[in-house]
């Protein structure tokens, strides 16, 4: 494993890899190393690139190095009454760079946006070994192409970030979870759609297969109080609610946003139009959890086939293979393949950052043409 001490070191490693024809896998905490196809690549650990470069809470802007542990970043902003609004989560050791590169977003994503919506700017080393800057360190900017959008969720395939600037927001002063029990998927989805479509400013909505439906109401206390009273009246057709405090609700939300409590060797994450979520879960057993009002569904199975991916596609969604034995990950690409024209365009964009294929490790086999290792 290569372990660059700083950005210069990293640039040299990338330049050398290009010259040698050795693909590199960029890694933060390595908590997602089992995602994607098994591959042979030299790993570059970014965990030495840590620390806060600048943080001015009143500007709502935070600049950090990518290897900074996610938990440290969250603790730092929490101490100022702020948050990363896309609610990233990770296993112990997860880094902020990894969370952004994998576009990890929790339950609040449905109303607050994803990693892409909160990455304001970055400095990175491209596959050419060149350092470049994109975006900016202010919250409002349209100067030049919005490359931060491309970088978020790019899984280290465009460049190695050396510094990233995030938008931070005030954390809600008060959060209450309203819980309904005993609803089937169809009814739960209707409830979530009604709540998210109401003006009661529900910030997250999830439903667990064991019949628990969650609505999160957050903000200043007088407003939260008012909305927690108003919502059940708007929702009389959907049953009754009980209130959970933060500690009671946290494990349930965690279950909904991570799918971690589900049983099965194969774990899929499906993004789809929320109204199609009940149809999907009806076909795939009992090990599932809906978040984002139904827009994200976790499903665990023991079957190593791809019927679920086909079903998701038929419903207008896309299934990501999040966890599976190596044999299946070799055979089934992590991401649902896009239309050929889009795949070709993605490949051209990747080559715009990485002409030599330094970051092409065969981890993402759905685009074999661009990501295959040289014979």
């Amino acid at each position: 494993m290569l372990d660059p001490r700083d950005a210069q070191d990293l640039a040299q490693i990338i330049t050398d890899a290009g010259a040698r024809g050795t693909p590199l896998e960029l890694r933060g905490g390595g908590t997602k190393a089992d995602f994607g196809a098994p591959r042979e690549a030299e790993v570059v650990s970014l965990t030495a690139l840590t620390g806060v470069v600048d943080y001015d809470p009143a500007e709502l802007v935070l600049t950090v190095r990518p290897g900074t542990p996610l938990a440290d970043v969250q603790a730092l902003v929490a101490a100022e009454g702020q948050m990363l609004a896309f609610e990233p989560y990770g296993a112990p050791g997860a880094t902020i760079g990894g969370a952004i590169a994998a576009a990890v977003a929790g339950s609040r994503r449905v109303t607050a946006g994803s990693a892409r919506d909160h990455l304001l700017g970055f400095t990175a080393i491209s596959g050419r070994g060149e350092s470049f800057v994109a975006g900016a360190k202010v919250v409002k900017n349209v100067t030049g192409y919005d490359l931060p959008k491309l970088m978020a969720g790019s899984w280290g395939r465009l460049g190695a970030m050396t510094e990233l600037t995030l938008k931070v927001l005030p954390a809600p002063r008060c959060t209450v979870t309203l819980m309904a029990e005993g609803l089937m998927a169809e009814a739960a989805h209707a409830l979530m759609a009604a709540a998210l479509g109401s003006n009661a400013d529900v910030s997250a909505a999830a439903h667990l297969a064991h019949g628990i439906t969650l609505l999160r109401v957050a903000g200043f206390a007088p407003s939260v109080e008012y909305r927690c009273n108003a919502l059940p009246k708007l929702m009389t057709a959907h049953g009754t609610f009980s209130r959970l405090d933060g500690a009671e609700a946290a494990p349930l939300w965690h279950e909904a946003m991570t799918g971690n409590a589900l049983h099965g060797a194969i774990r899929w994450r499906v993004h789809l139009p929320p109204r199609r979520a009940p149809e999907l879960v009806a076909r795939f057993g009992t090990q599932w959890a809906m978040d984002w009002g139904g827009g994200q569904v976790w499903i665990a199975l023991d079957d190593t086939g791809t019927a679920l991916r086909e079903a998701a596609a038929a419903l207008g969604g896309e299934a990501v293979l999040m966890q599976a034995p190596p044999e299946m990950r070799t055979r089934v690409p992590a991401f649902q393949p896009r239309a050929p024209g889009v795949m070709a365009l993605e490949a051209r964009v990747r080559r715009a950052f990485d002409p030599l294929g330094v970051f092409a490790t065969a981890r993402f086999a759905e685009d074999a043409h661009a990501d295959q290792l040289p014979a």
């Binding site: 202010v138 409002k140 192409y145 978020a152 200043f220 994200q296 889009v342 365009l345 002409p355």
Partner: protein, 498 residues
């Protein structure tokens, strides 16, 4: 701008014939393909009227297939294309070229679908920003980004420019509210990026298309998110002795965890111009005026307004008025929304700038702007999206006085250089276009700009789509793709390269 290509001009008649074959039909004013000199004049500029250039011709297709055929033909014939929505760009993004086809999307007017349950609307690019809200408000929804030109500007143009508005601190820019587009590439290929659900697989190409100023492709369909309309909104109007106190008030509001729906600041010249124009009762003896709007349930608005009033008073507010009804709230906004025409009344011409700065640098920036004002001999009035640090200095000049336009542009450039110097950016919401193109090297290094241009090459390798905008130097894609070869060996020899 690049010099017009003689070979293209020489085949104008052939281009016209080809466009008429693709988009038949007569109708008013030359029909769907406009070629007469008089009829081309209305198309010679967008809202940045200091720049004018009649296009070679205008074509107004109605279907994606026609857009695809037009681009495919132009690509094969090496003819440049400038896409245009409603032409409200403030940065010259839709400025025509003498040797380019101007591709107008004005006939793409249909709202294709509204899905209230999934909270999305699928619309054609020529639909106006406001028309989306009008189509969904019956069921209590709206489309959040609200650029001041929302009555006229098109959603396709909003996508190209990543438009904002006074509410974007809380609700985001266009990019945060768009789920998918249908895009036609310069070679005529039609692709769908994103769609009807969140976080699709693959690279976020949609994210880079939004705000690409018409350089990457032509948008022919847009899927937007719609939001439930807040129960109510209230505003407070606060006057401060000077802008510094107004600035510390803004910082404290945010530090106390409040993200208002809108937070606008005006300086003394802007206050006076606006009040003289619309007479809404703005205090005239203050140095800075803040309009803070909150929205949500009434209980929340009441609470937040009282908190903001407290913070304002702690920061030395001289006057404070809370809106008691909708009419009064609208009156508070009337002056702010009329600020541009109001300044247009006190000065024959004005140039509107659009930099963003870290808010903490505001007092310094305003002080140095006064010095620049004296240096260039031109007045300036400031309106300011205070919550997100987006400044709109309005430089006052008279185009009929020789030298004043040049002085105004030099003043504007100095302001934007100042914004970058203090850690900000050249444009917060208006786009680079032609206006700020040559200032790009102030903010980006050569390596930064080349990386952006390589993305352009991935979409449009022949640089035919909206050339001359955004980038100060046009590098050929082959030149940008060049790379070092060590010992005569290219690594990964089977990879495709451009």
């Amino acid at each position: 701008m690049p010099l017009p290509d003689a070979a293209t001009l020489a085949k104008r008649e052939r281009i016209i014939a080809a466009m008429r074959a693709i988009v038949p039909g007569g109708g008013v004013l030359g029909g769907s393909v406009i070629v007469e000199t008089d009829a081309l004049r209305p198309w010679e500029s967008d809202a940045l009227t200091a720049y004018r250039q009649p296009p070679m011709l205008v074509v107004l297709p109605e279907t994606t297939a026609q857009v695809s055929a037009i681009l495919k033909w132009c690509h094969a014939e090496n003819v440049k294309v400038v896409p245009r929505g409603s032409g409200t760009s403030l940065s010259g993004g839709a400025l025509p070229l003498a040797d380019a086809v101007l591709l107008g999307l004005g006939k793409f007017k249909r709202i294709l679908e509204v899905d209230h349950e999934d909270r999305i609307a699928v619309v054609q690019p020529g639909v106006t920003n406001l028309a989306i809200t009008q189509a969904v408000e019956g069921r209590g929804f709206y489309y959040a980004p609200d650029p001041s030109s929302q009555i006229a500007c098109s959603i396709g143009g909003n996508v190209a420019e990543n438009s904002g508005g006074v509410h974007c601190l809380k609700y985001g820019l266009t990019t945060n509210n768009v789920l998918g587009v249908e895009l036609v590439l310069m070679d005529g290929e039609i692709v769908r990026l994103g769609g009807r659900h969140l976080d699709p697989c693959g690279l976020d190409l949609l994210g880079v298309v939004v705000g690409s100023e018409g350089l990457l492709g032509v948008v022919t369909e847009v899927t937007v998110r719609i939001l439930p309309k807040p129960e109510t909104a209230r505003a407070v109007l606060v006057g401060f002795p000077d802008a510094e106190q107004a600035g510390t008030c803004v910082a404290q509001v945010i530090a106390e965890g409040i993200i208002p729906a809108g937070m606008e600041m005006m300086d003394r010249p802007a206050i006076h111009a606006a009040e003289a124009f619309v007479q809404v009762g703005y205090p005239l003896d203050v140095g800075a005026l803040l309009i803070v709007e909150v929205d949500g349930p009434a209980a929340e608005c009441d609470y937040l307004i009282s908190e903001i009033a407290r913070i304002a008073s702690e920061n030395g507010a001289a006057t404070s008025r809370v809106s008691t009804d909708e009419a009064e709230r609208m009156a508070f906004w009337a002056g702010r929304k009329a600020a541009f025409p109001a300044v247009g009344r006190i000065s024959p011409d004005y140039l509107c700038m659009d930099g963003t700065i870290p808010r903490r640098r505001l007092p310094e920036v305003l002080r140095r702007m006064e010095e620049l004002s004296a240096h260039h001999g031109l007045g300036v009035a400031n309106v300011f999206h205070a919550g997100d640090g987006n400044l709109h200095p309005l430089i006052l000049y008279d185009a009929n006085v020789p030298g004043q336009l040049d002085a105004a542009e030099a003043f504007g450039s100095d302001i934007l250089r100042l914004c970058v110097e203090v850690g900000g950016v050249l444009t917060g919401e208006h786009g680079v276009g032609i206006e700020k193109r040559d200032l790009m090297p102030v903010m980006f290094t050569d390596a930064d700009l080349k990386q952006q241009q390589r993305v352009k090459c991935a979409f449009d390798p022949d640089l035919l789509l909206n050339p001359g905008k955004v980038f100060p130097v046009l590098h050929r894609c082959a030149e940008l793709g060049r790379m070092h070869v060590h010992h005569g060996q290219v690594p990964f020899p089977d990879l495709p390269r451009f």
